[in-house]
Symmetry: D3
Subunit: 250 residues, 6 copies
């Protein structure tokens, strides 16, 4: 038995490097990953505006993933665009790294901080923490002030900035766990964790994509999916301007 997990990048910029963040998991665990982006939507997700334009595509892609036999869907963005809508549309688990990472962090210590890209996404993540029920353990949200699409061109500066903000989160905000707050931060969690440890600040660093993939497997292994009472299928009704795959959820 092998679980098929669909990674769904909720924008239109090609990001083949994403699967590398999950590298090796399929070697030791009974899982295969597939990866898609959106046909329609914004080039990256950094605002409620971007979320709004990404969500219809996320719903469509979740329906396609289910139709193609995926066992679970991961939305590849800390803002979890379209999360509840996709859960209403399909029977399989749909996970967002925002939710899964914050719950994982909550289980690893007393208080966690999220280190993310831009100050402007902090209220969005904080509101999500309220809805997900983990706000009580959220110490702070800190930003390094780099837009998503400029991450890869500034890797050294980003390593320094992440370390700097994580350090402040631990020292000033009393966080004892760090969540990397953007799924565009690739290949950085281990090094950040090591750097913090070498400074005497041994906080775990939650890698959002990898942690969310493992959480998806945890739900699948435990035979769990999202509550159909919480996320009932949408009522059948005319829709104009969006051509979505059929909803078969009952």
């Amino acid at each position: 038995m092998t679980f098929h997990v669909r990674l769904l990048t909720p924008h239109v910029t090609p990001r083949p490097q994403k699967l590398r963040e999950l590298a090796g998991l399929d070697a030791v665990l009974p899982v295969t990953f597939s990866h898609v982006g959106l046909r329609e939507g914004p080039a990256s997700i950094e605002s409620a505006f971007d979320d709004a334009l990404a969500a219809p595509g996320v719903v469509a892609a979740a329906l396609e993933a289910e139709a193609e036999g995926a066992d679970a869907v991961i939305i590849d963005c800390m803002g979890d665009p379209g999360l509840d809508a996709a859960r209403e549309a399909v029977n399989i688990p749909v996970l967002g790294p925002g939710e899964a990472s914050m719950h994982a962090a909550a289980m690893l210590g007393h208080s966690f901080s999220v280190v993310t890209i831009l100050d402007r996404v902090a209220p969005i993540l904080r509101n999500h923490a309220r809805i997900y029920g983990v706000a009580e353990k959220l110490a702070s949200i800190r930003a390094i002030d780099v837009p998503v699409l400029e991450i890869e061109d500034n890797e050294q500066a980003i390593r320094r900035a992440l370390l700097d903000e994580a350090r402040k989160a631990i020292r000033h905000d009393k966080a004892d766990v760090i969540v990397l707050g953007c799924t565009g931060f690739l290949g950085l969690s281990r090094e950040l964790s090591d750097s913090l440890k070498s400074e005497g600040l041994p906080a775990p660093v939650v890698n959002p994509l990898r942690t969310t993939a493992m959480m998806a497997l945890a739900l699948l292994g435990a035979g769990l999916s999202h509550s159909a009472i919480a996320y009932p299928p949408p009522r059948a009704k005319p829709i104009r301007g969006f051509s979505l795959p059929e909803v078969t959820k009952s």
Copy 2:
């Protein structure tokens, strides 16, 4: 001076009767109302799925309203679809009846209940109450179990059901203010208020559209609009599949 308020019904079903809910306000106040629906989207809003399909159209319509000189936009749905995204896109105030009605209710008593259409929207409204910061005063959300598009065909049953749930909200949940929880409940607030009063339960009944229109005027009269720190304009980036009016917010 006359304020121009745009009422934006966030779905594709024609609803000309909506403006009647605001009738008379323009006779005594310096305001004119215009009304549009969406070109693309669902036929009604009853789920996160519907919200996701409505939000892009709401953003587009808010941009159009601003371009056409509107002074404020009201999204005609208690679920406030696209609210934050629209606020990021335009400079003028954008109000949602979910937010405005719950804040009005919070100012009118110690504890309010929302009486709405279907149980399935209760968690959506409750999550909004958390984000809007009024959850502390939310006594309960009760539903009458009638879909939006069947409201007009069941008016007598709806009057009875609203009264019944409002009564329970006051007696059992200790609410002292009632919010009508769907902007499709037209012309019902006054009668409900009178019925409650005649039963010795003198709770104000917040009519969401009318109250939101007055809140829009209140902001305009006080020279206020939404915070551009809270709702900064979206960063310029490629968007595929949606043709939106230009964002001119700086």
Copy 3:
């Protein structure tokens, strides 16, 4: 139709300049303002002690306002002295700028700060925020350390101090909306808003008197008054030492 709003300054110091803060509203809106102070009470409101001495006079003045045909009463102090007692006594809406400004601020952004006169009033305002149900969105309360009766003699210093504290509220406390925290700060909100904007901190600044006046009109326009379940009329009983107008609320 014209609404008559009574502005009630809850102390014994003559403050004719207060109505200037509402100047112009009556030109564009169907409203007239009248203004009274107290016959008995303290010279200003800066403590729970002052509140206690102001509240009986506020109740009496609210009863007089209703008897004289006012459609709504505004208590001219951020501490909202006598607010609940006055609501129990009369049928017309009674608004406090503390409550109305904080709810307006909550609707304008994600998180607001109040900038007020003295540190000693901060716990009073914070407790009010808890009762009003908006504490979740209150980022901070900051004070400029100037007593009420010295505001007018220190206008330049006050402008600088307000700007300084507002800037810190935005930068350090992550507020995105500012509430002017004393109704004695006259004619300052527009300039403060402009100064913040010129510094790249475009937070709306809530002028408490003007905003509360517009909120009163919003309630009147929506046909709403305070819940008689939340604020039932006081039971008839002997009262010694206070001669109040008759309570006619049923």
Copy 4:
């Protein structure tokens, strides 16, 4: 050494029987009790309106108590009228049974309910619980629907009603401690506690006056009084219409 505790009944109805509720404490503890009522104020306290008319008298009486050498003041009403104002005025501890009883109850179990006179005071007590910081442990507030001044004429009915509501609080609201919610319930706590125990519901019943008297002694014995940072003396300023003893607090 003997502590002198002043019991201050915050209304104008003579209540000599109050001291009987403290009978015996002065036999075993180094304490004497004195008792005063108000010269001006309402006949009983059942509303925010009554609170407002009682508070100035409470402040005056607290100042007199301090001038006469009292070591602590207890305000004889669960609504704690004038509590913060009196604390600002004097150096000695001022206790309210609402606050002291709810904190005692919070220390005796996981969750407490208050059983009081009238539904209308429930929101007042609930708001106080929020401000006192004990709302998290407040299971419910239940009322027996008898006004203060009719308590003594209905003693049998009141015993039955208190037992009935306490039983519901334990069974339905999951309270494990009961607070008698009116200081006019005299001589009833022991019997209520016994009745509950005989029904297999062994919840402690907090007698508000007796418990508050012991809390006053606890503070005095520990050398503690209220924070002068939290309750700074009122700023000197003209007061019209109230003749208060001099404030000597520095």
Copy 5:
């Protein structure tokens, strides 16, 4: 690579049947389970008293598990006895089903209920929910009134009682996810889930042991363990009366 997970039953009653609850996981996942009980402690865990007597043994057994090469430890009790102490003692992840199940439940819906053995453990679980940061999503805790050691003799009655309380949790408390609230409920989750679904109440039922085992694998797969800032090793100091394995955590 195979992960070794130690199941630690925190009492002295032999419970070989526990591993059957995890049956099959080791067939599809790279995991082996070992199982131990305590040498010293109570016969079952149903109170804070039992917790106190179990915790030293849990710490010792966690140290032994780490010394014997286990990759993670699961404490086999919803009360999570000794959880924080064990985390301080070892480097490997230590999971409690109380914490892991409640976080899993929080991710599966809007609001969950725990159905457990005895009313007396409800406050313990509720306090844990507060500390774990998930109280916001806890709808209720319901009990079937059967002690742990009588579960196996009453299986039919227990199935009925669990279904009855789960149904009430969904209908009355508005839960949309059910957590089985005792790790002594063996082999019941699937049937309960099916029964609820057949009644039109499709709530996921979280099997605490199986879900916690998968959460342990999720942390191991993501390379995460508990924060050493949150759970620093105990300071070396004399201990009398307990002979514990050496703490090697640095």
Copy 6:
């Protein structure tokens, strides 16, 4: 009548000097104090690990205290180890200075800070504040970075450090009451209070042992003990490895 209060130091290091902290209370109040330590347990309490090893001994010692006729038990540690377990075991009140001090502090001002020994105990105390229901009034927990057993050798440094952190708690964290956060801080509260007052920061300083002793007397004088619904006696069952006095609680 004289109350007998047992002070129970929950570790194995002899601490005869503890009773000096209560000196004089027995001269003015009808109380005698006895003092015991543990036969088995750690040398001091600074972690969850230490708590776990102390709790069984606390339960045993509480049972012994009750058998020997004590009227109340005080656990001599801010971490309140074994508190709930001991309450389940005995009928007499069992108090912890963590709980009693924080409730006393909550009654003395708007917001309190705890100044304690090591940063590592801060999350433990914060979690207790959540469970005790006083988290809303907890401004901060600050540590002076000195282990318990080194307090007496560093008295001058500790005085300075306590004053420094208390000052910061008042100025930066807006505390208006200070709680000494370790019962090993002996003879320091009065001086700290005086020092703060001389700096213009007149915050009361809660001496945990003395305050808890007075709270015990307050409960005894009011005829109150802990709720037997909240803390029911443990169910009879085999216990291996601990020899406890018999539980006679019914």
